[in-house]
């Protein structure tokens, strides 16, 4: 057993930015949003991530501007604290502990009051004490109601915090803080037409006594006169065909904004009946809308982890995109050119995400069809993708139809275009196979590219790129080169060896080895029982080994020279991932409700590194990402992380990675260095020269410990004074001159010492 102390699992980038409504600073320059346990500050103009407010230890669940000071922001978190920040400089001002037992979710809607929901979802008002101390405990609490929905958008403050409106199922409640009284209004469970009347969101008019509520059937109701229990009225407007996700009044209250799954932002004119404007195709269903305090900018956050900044003239002016990982169907891949992580993004797209900068690079539209935002519609999704070794070709499979009877899929091949620096569609193959494609891989040789697809129609096909001889045109499209099958068994996996001289295709329990040059079947390998789940060849010095995992908890390693089983162990491997830069292979195994990681070389069955209990879910997707600069750790247990880093995606769609102690040290030291001297702009040039100068200074002080130091400091002080004082307050030059010259003279003590030393 290797000790695992200095390697730990780290959650890395790409947290949700769409969990809570984003807020826009009052000068419309910044957008703040929660992202995991951070609050991120973005610029509205450039869409750049400026900095983040770091300090919470758990998921941040709500942010709001301080009504007393518009440069400060309150944030609250599941860790039970409310923090006050200066968001421009990123300084923590105040921490308030809220004593809530078993906090599930806290959200914050106004500086006056914190609404907290403990386990049973109670609305609690907490008075934040005004004291100068940095850390304060807020104890003054009063429960408002327990009839509250889990959805935070079903609660809203009205008219400068005079009342709070909250809804649950079919009941709308309004609580007045002054009177400490709740009025409740309820709707019938079903309307005449069988409409679903449940409340989905609430917004209160900023100046008028009006509450807008959104409903599951897409209706928007405007409630008025709710101060009276009986004489209340409401008017209904209907445009959305599905549930209204969010509502928002503009700060002046002239417009009401609404959004839902259709991904259309609708602007209703307040008090003008049905007059409305639309902004369609924003991408992803709209989850939250917020408006800036001057009403010039709107922000919508979408289900595809995106924040859109919209001008009040209904023009999109910025998009802040996070990593989309809601429904990842493809494997995790690395684009060989940009070293970006590639996976499913927006529906029908592949996203390219830079892990180093934690930044979304771009989306590649694969399906190229209009996406219809409608619940329960079966649309094309990218299910498989593969890059060739140079990154000049990308193969994708898109699929539609869950049942196999009306399955539709396309195999597409994309060529990298140097001029536009993106992938361009080269070939679309409509009926590549007669059934679903299970596995796909490119050959790994640099000269010729070949794609192999294995499908459920018990065939595998090799696709080659070639010009048509008859037409004599130089079109490089792809065509089928070879169709292979083995005893009508369904293939489960395919893999090329490192030099692509061999192709291994597994058919249920049997692995067949083919030569791609002649398409001759060389041999078959079989280790029953159990269907082959994963297949990979060894790399570099271990290229003579072939690894396979079966569904019956077996990890086997065959020697291809002797065609014999080299070793096998009983591990339930859910994912086998070879490192392209070394011999190492990572295997994730799922046993008794937790996942273990083993890293080993195919040549020896003893693992190099073992990490028990990496996470509690199954791991099906993992990838080795090459490092920009290799680490040079000599420790045996961390050596496998020297050249590349292992990222993996759990079933809960958390992207995790391993980080070593040396790496963290390096990061810490670099951040410290930045903190020490903040008077000078820290440029790479400065860092370089600064280091050099420090070394020189050290040398100097060692050689001339006495004479050099005072002289330097004195001279520098005078010169500084001379140069830094503004010209109009300086005395006459004649006065200065003697002072200036004097400053160069060596002080008396030094002079006295020197002759003495000469004498002795």
């Amino acid at each position: 057993m290797v000790e695992t102390s200095d390697i730990r699992v780290v959650r890395c980038g790409g947290s949700k930015v769409n969990l809570t409504p984003p807020i826009i600073s009052s000068d419309s320059r910044f957008v703040l949003c929660t992202s995991g346990d951070l609050v991120k500050v973005y610029s509205t103009r450039t869409e750049e991530w400026l900095h983040s407010l770091q300090g919470h230890t758990n998921q941040v669940t709500g942010i709001t501007l301080n009504p007393a000071n518009h440069l400060q922001v309150y944030s609250c978190s599941v860790d039970g604290t409310v923090k006050l920040w200066d968001f421009i400089d990123g300084i923590l001002i105040k921490v308030q502990l809220v004593e809530v037992h078993e906090t599930v979710e806290i959200f914050l809607s106004s500086g006056l009051c914190v609404s907290a929901c403990p386990e049973c979802f109670q609305l609690v008002s907490v008075h934040l004490p005004k004291s100068a101390e940095q850390e304060v405990e807020a104890k003054e609490m009063s429960a408002v109601s327990s009839h509250i929905s889990k959805n935070p958008s079903c609660t809203a403050f009205g008219r400068g915090g005079e009342y709070i409106a909250f809804a649950r199922h079919l009941q709308l409640n309004v609580y007045f803080f002054r009177k400490q009284k709740t009025y409740s209004f309820s709707l019938k469970a079903t309307d005449k037409k069988g409409a679903k009347n449940a409340f989905t969101c609430i917004a209160c008019h900023p100046t008028d006594d009006c509450i807008a509520t959104g409903h599951e059937d897409g209706k928007i109701r405007l409630w008025r006169n709710f101060i009276h229990k009986k004489e209340y009225t409401y008017s209904t407007q209907h445009w959305h065909h599905n549930a209204v996700n969010t509502l928002c009044f503009t700060p002046e209250g002239t417009h009401l904004l609404s959004g839902g799954i259709e991904s259309v932002l609708v602007q209703w004119q307040y008090g003008a009946g049905n007059r409305k404007e639309f902004l369609p195709r924003l991408g992803g269903s709209i989850l939250h809308i917020s408006a800036s305090s001057d009403g010039q900018l709107f922000c919508t956050s979408h289900s595809d982890n995106k924040i859109t900044v919209i001008e009040s003239s209904f023009k999109v002016c910025g998009v802040i995109q996070g990593l989309v990982k809601d429904a990842v169907l493809t494997d995790l891949m690395i684009d060989p050119r940009s070293k970006a992580l590639v996976l499913n993004g927006k529906p029908g797209h592949l996203q390219f995400y830079s892990l180093l900068r934690d930044k979304h690079l771009y989306n590649l539209d694969i399906v190229q069809q209009e996406y219809i935002y409608e619940a329960g519609l079966d649309q094309f999704e990218v299910v498989k993708a593969a890059f060739d070794i140079k990154g000049s070709w990308l193969a994708t499979v898109e699929e539609r139809g869950k049942k196999s009877s009306d399955l539709e899929f396309f195999l597409k091949l994309w060529a990298f275009d140097e001029r536009t620096q993106s992938f361009v569609l080269n070939t679309t193959i409509t009926a590549a196979h007669t059934d679903r494609i299970i596995s796909m891989c490119f050959s790994s040789s640099e000269e010729t590219t070949m794609l192999v697809t294995a499908a459920e129609d018990s065939q595998f096909k090799a696709w080659c790129q070639g010009a048509d001889a008859d037409t004599q045109q130089d079109q490089n499209f792809w065509s089928c080169d070879f169709v292979g099958s083995y005893h009508k068994l369904n293939p489960t996996n395919c893999s090329f060896s490192a030099d692509s001289s061999l192709l291994a295709v597994s058919f249920q329990e049997v692995i067949t080895i083919w030569s791609p040059d002649t398409w001759e079947m060389l041999t078959t390998l079989c280790q029953p029982p159990g269907v082959i789940r994963d297949l990979c060849f060894g790399r570099l010095s271990c290229s003579k080994y072939l690894l396979g995992t079966t569904t019956k908890n077996l990890l086997c390693c065959w020697n291809l020279l002797t065609c014999e089983l080299e070793w096998s162990t009983s591990v339930d491997v859910s994912k086998l991932q070879p490192d392209p830069f070394s011999e190492n292979v990572a295997a994730f195994s799922y046993q008794s409700k937790h996942t273990d990681l083993f890293v080993f070389k195919p040549s020896e069955p003893r693992p190099l590194f073992t990490n028990k209990n990496v996470c509690s879910e199954k791991v099906h997707r993992a990838v080795f990402v090459p490092r920009e600069e290799p680490l040079n750790s000599c420790d045996e247990s961390t050596q496998w992380l020297n050249r590349s880093q292992l990222y993996f995606l759990t079933q809960n769609m958390d992207l995790l990675t391993f980080s070593t102690a040396t790496e963290e040290d390096r990061m810490l030291s670099s951040s410290k260095q930045l903190v020490i001297d903040d008077s000078v702009a820290v440029t790479p040039f400065y860092l370089l020269l600064g280091k050099h100068r420090q070394q020189q200074q050290k040398l100097n002080t060692q050689s001339h410990p006495v004479s050099d130091k005072p002289q330097q400091t004195q001279g520098s002080v005078t010169i500084k004074e001379l140069l830094h004082t503004p010209a109009h307050v300086l005395p006459a030059a004649s006065v200065l001159c003697s002072m200036f010259v004097n400053s160069f003279l060596i002080s008396n003590t030094g002079v006295q010492q020197d002759p003495l030393s000469w004498l002795t």
């Binding site: 209009e370 539609r400 004599q472």
Partner: protein, 528 residues
């Protein structure tokens, strides 16, 4: 934000013949001009000089036509019996022709009366030609001899009897005045050298030779006879290079195009075939009757074909000029002001550019799809012009509606007229393998929707009857195809007994699926 993505029309390449540059080149001829002659047209020869008139030998006359004239500009009629083999001299001023009676006549192009008559052959002379020096004429006759005549003195220079049957083919060398190639019904092709006075090379064609032809380089020789066209390499001592069997009746004539030296052969089976340089057929002209003679004008301007029924069909090449004049006449409008003005303005370096948003132009059905008007979009896609000339657009819209889950809505609530349109479209395209899958879904949905009311309309009922018939036929056909595939499979299996991997055609599974779905729909129809 993101703009509307228009419906993608799947472009599916048609199976079968591929369009190559050769096919495009040879397709580029106008429809033929038919000229009626008095009898079977046995020989056509183009003048090598500029206006490129051509002499057509038919019955007892030789007519000379201009390239674009349909009336003969000159005719030689002083033959007592059928004339044969009228051919021009290298300078285009003299014409020589044989005849059934054995006389050979020499005409001046501008005169009417024969300048010379060569007498000596005892039987019909079918082939005559000038040797390339222009002073001698060679002729081949049914009396098994061929003779060489001196033009100035009209005397016979030599007579050689080497063939053992009628001589029906002759090709003089253009590079050497003493060489010529003859072909005869005795199945041989011989190369003669006048200097030695005998044949220097003999090749066995294997069938009565109807035509011989020398390539301009004179390294390759083409002989036709029977159903075969054979290419011989003269530099390798007469080795057979290729033997082509593309006609199903006797190949009577062959000629070379002047652009790229493509070989053309005409046959009694009424086809003219064009071969590419690797001797694959790239194009095919169909004619009304059996072809006896054929010639291609220099620059391939004209392809003239003579047939047994006495019709001379002349095809002229299309030129771009003609097309341009046609289109330029059609287009007239505010072209510069609307389309060009200001578009070619190049901004200077310090100009501040305000770009105008590019307007996205959508097709009508796309506009309707954008506003979710599904029935209207389907109507638009089913308009007569789209439906007939671009069925793939209609099918693309149907697929798009299916993807949106609104195909049923779009098909519902139609009257008899629009339902007939849809059913007609189904009848026409349901078997096209490119379209059958979405169209079968449409058929299913239509049957589901209108099951109750179908009986009220006799028109729709009749169409459904037809649809059922057609589907039944298709299902039978698929069944048979599957049987054939089964037979083939057993054949393949027996051919490769030891190999474990079976080579399989791509079709069985898809056919099977197709068959099943076809039969399910036809079963549906039957129920109604």
């Amino acid at each position: 934000m993101a703009s509307f993505k228009p419906t993608k029309v799947q472009f599916l390449p048609k199976l079968g013949e591929k369009v190559t540059e050769d096919t495009l080149y040879w397709k580029n001829y106008k429809s033929p001009v038919q000229i009626k002659e008095f009898g079977a047209v046995t020989k056509i020869d183009f003048s090598p000089l500029a206006p490129h008139n051509y002499a057509v030998t038919a019955s007892t006359r030789i007519h000379v036509y201009g390239l674009h004239s349909q009336e003969p500009i000159r005719s030689f009629t002083r033959f007592r019996d059928t004339a044969y083999g009228g051919s021009f001299r290298g300078d285009g001023k003299l014409l020589v022709a044989g005849s059934e009676e054995g006389l050979i006549r020499l005409f001046d192009i501008s005169g009417r009366v024969a300048l010379r008559q060569f007498t000596g052959h005892s039987k019909a002379v079918h082939v005559t030609s000038f040797l390339s020096d222009g002073f001698r004429v060679v002729s081949g006759s049914d009396d098994l001899t061929f003779r060489v005549w001196d033009v100035p003195s009209a005397v016979e220079l030599s007579s050689i009897t080497e063939h053992t049957d009628y001589i029906r083919a002759l090709a003089p060398s253009k590079l050497n005045p003493d060489l010529f190639v003859t072909g005869s019904y005795d199945h041989t092709v011989k190369v003669f050298d006048m200097r030695s006075g005998s044949s220097v090379m003999t090749m066995q064609h294997g069938h009565p030779v109807e035509c011989v032809l020398l390539y301009p380089s004179e390294a390759l020789l083409v002989s036709t006879g029977g159903r075969y066209v054979k290419i011989w390499d003269l530099l390798k001592g007469g080795q057979e290079l290729v033997s082509l069997k593309n006609h199903h009746k006797t190949v009577t004539c062959a000629c070379l195009s002047s652009v790229g030296n493509k070989l053309l052969t005409g046959s009694l089976d009424r086809h003219v075939k064009v071969y590419n340089s690797s001797y694959k057929v790239v194009h095919n002209f169909d004619c009304d009757a059996s072809i006896l003679s054929m010639a291609v004008a220099p620059d391939d301007e004209v392809v003239a074909v003579g047939m047994t029924n006495g019709v001379l069909s002349v095809r002229h090449r299309k030129h771009k000029k003609d097309k341009e004049t046609l289109t330029s006449r059609r287009r007239r409008g505010p072209s510069y002001r609307v389309f060009v003005k200001g578009k070619n303005f190049v901004p200077r370096q310090d100009d501040f550019l305000v770009s105008k948003p590019v307007k996205q132009y959508l097709r009508k059905y796309d506009k309707q799809l954008k506003s979710f008007e599904v029935s209207k979009a389907l109507d638009t896609a089913l308009q007569t012009w789209t439906r007939t000339s671009k069925p793939e657009v209609t099918v693309a819209v149907i697929i798009e509606l299916n993807r949106r889950g609104t195909l049923k809505n779009a098909l519902a609530g139609r009257n008899e007229e629009s339902l007939t349109k849809i059913l007609n479209f189904l009848l026409k395209h349901i078997f096209d393998p490119r379209f059958s899958r979405p169209l079968l879904t449409v058929g299913d949905i239509v049957l589901d929707l209108y099951r109750q009311v179908l009986h009220q309309s006799p028109v729709v009922e009749r169409q459904l009857q037809r649809l059922m018939e057609v589907l039944g036929r298709e299902a039978e056909l698929q069944q048979e195809l599957l049987q054939v595939l089964g037979i083939l499979d057993t054949l393949f299996a027996s051919l490769t007994p030891r190999k474990e991997v079976l080579w399989e055609e791509h079709c069985p599974m898809s056919l099977n699926n197709h068959c099943v779905s076809v039969s399910s729909v036809s079963a549906d129809v039957c129920r109604i």
